[in-house]
């Protein structure tokens, strides 16, 4: 049987890039069809296909790394670069929404009354639920660091406890934010204030859900003994992503909730 004479990972042919691309096509076309013809079937089909692609693709990555040993140190270095570049692209994604917020709020137009928050808008009190949410996410940053140290020290029980706590805190944030959305005295349709508020915090909330899911997958893998004290990059990637989500919230809190009120 031939063996490779290099430490890099030459992947097996995979159908998931194709199914993922078709999922993206169906979701975007489906969005257009929904807007114009009120039918959601195409968009739903695309979403189902996306979920199937995601599950199977990342299942295969776990198989390739943990079960087949393909994630050598050089291969892992590539994965690290990849995750860092992805998070950087997400930072730029949020930068756009912060740009939009500051564009409208630093020089409020006469239509808004010439001040910010605009006329007719009752902003949320930054020292009520938003402050609690800040504490929740900061605490989750501590617990995820605790989980990392537990994994590195080979303390299985503490790793599982602290990772579970991190996920619960993420769930608590999502729950509190959903309540805030329900109770808010303004909507996304309330001018530029509503638009910037809900688009920025909405995308952040989506990232909290994604991050919590990533951490939950890591918890599942930690329980099943996938991680060793020296090799647990999947967890590190999830922890990096989680810290990114926390930092975005801090910027949101300072800019939109506090300064913007």
């Amino acid at each position: 049987m031939a063996h490779q004479a290099h430490p890099y990972h030459m992947v097996d042919p995979s159908p998931w890039p194709l199914t993922g691309a078709v999922a993206a096509l169906l979701m975007t076309s489906g969005l257009a069809i929904w807007f114009h013809f009120h039918s959601t079937i195409l968009m739903l089909l695309g979403t189902v296909l996306l979920v199937l692609t995601i599950c199977q693709w990342w299942r295969d990555v776990v198989r390739e790394g943990t079960f087949q040993g393909h994630h050598t140190p050089p291969a892992q270095k590539g994965l690290r670069y990849g995750m860092i570049l992805f998070i950087t692209s997400e930072v730029l994604f949020f930068a756009g929404f912060f740009w939009a917020f500051y564009h409208s709020s630093l020089a409020p137009t006469p239509e808004l009354g010439g001040f910010w928050p605009p006329a007719g808008i009752t902003p949320l009190d930054p020292f009520e639920v938003p402050l609690l949410n800040t504490a929740v996410l900061l605490a989750s940053g501590v617990t995820v660091t605790w989980a990392h140290h537990s994994i590195m020290e080979g303390d299985r029980k503490q790793a599982i406890h602290s990772l579970t706590l991190t996920i619960l805190l993420g769930g608590y944030f999502t729950f509190l934010q959903a309540l805030e959305y329900y109770e808010a005295p303004f909507t996304i349709a309330d001018g530029v204030y509503g638009a910037t508020f809900f688009v920025a915090t909405g995308f952040h909330g989506l990232h909290v859900i994604i991050g919590s899911t990533f951490l939950a997958v890591c918890l599942h893998r930690q329980i099943r003994h996938h991680f060793t004290s020296t090799h647990h990059f999947g967890f590190e990637a999830a922890a990096w992503y989680w810290h990114f989500v926390d930092v975005v919230w801090l910027f949101l809190y300072i800019s939109i909730y506090w300064w913007g009120s």
Binding site: L42, V48, R63, F175
Partner: protein, 82 residues
């Protein structure tokens, strides 16, 4: 209502950690399965469930491609409103 949510969180945590303690390390078995020299690609190497999931996903992909082309073709021609 919030008491129920908090209680659920505690139950979930205890359920997760108590079943986690009993979990035997099955990674060596998985390593043997996925390193077997049978020529199967990684996305099919886990067994029959892999093939089932693959066929379902690819089926949806092929159907979806056809369906989207049909919908886009239909959307390209203005419908007369009567």
């Amino acid at each position: 209502m919030y008491r129920h949510v908090f209680a659920l969180q505690q139950v979930a945590r205890r359920t997760i950690t108590s079943s986690a303690r009993r979990e035997r390390n099955r990674v060596p078995e998985k390593q043997k399965l996925f390193q077997e020299d049978n020529g199967l690609p990684v996305h099919l190497k886990g067994g029959a469930t892999d093939a089932l999931l693959y066929r379902a996903t690819m089926g949806l992909t092929v159907f979806g491609t056809g369906y989207v082309l049909y919908e886009l073709w239909k959307a390209s021609f203005p419908q007369k409103k009567d």
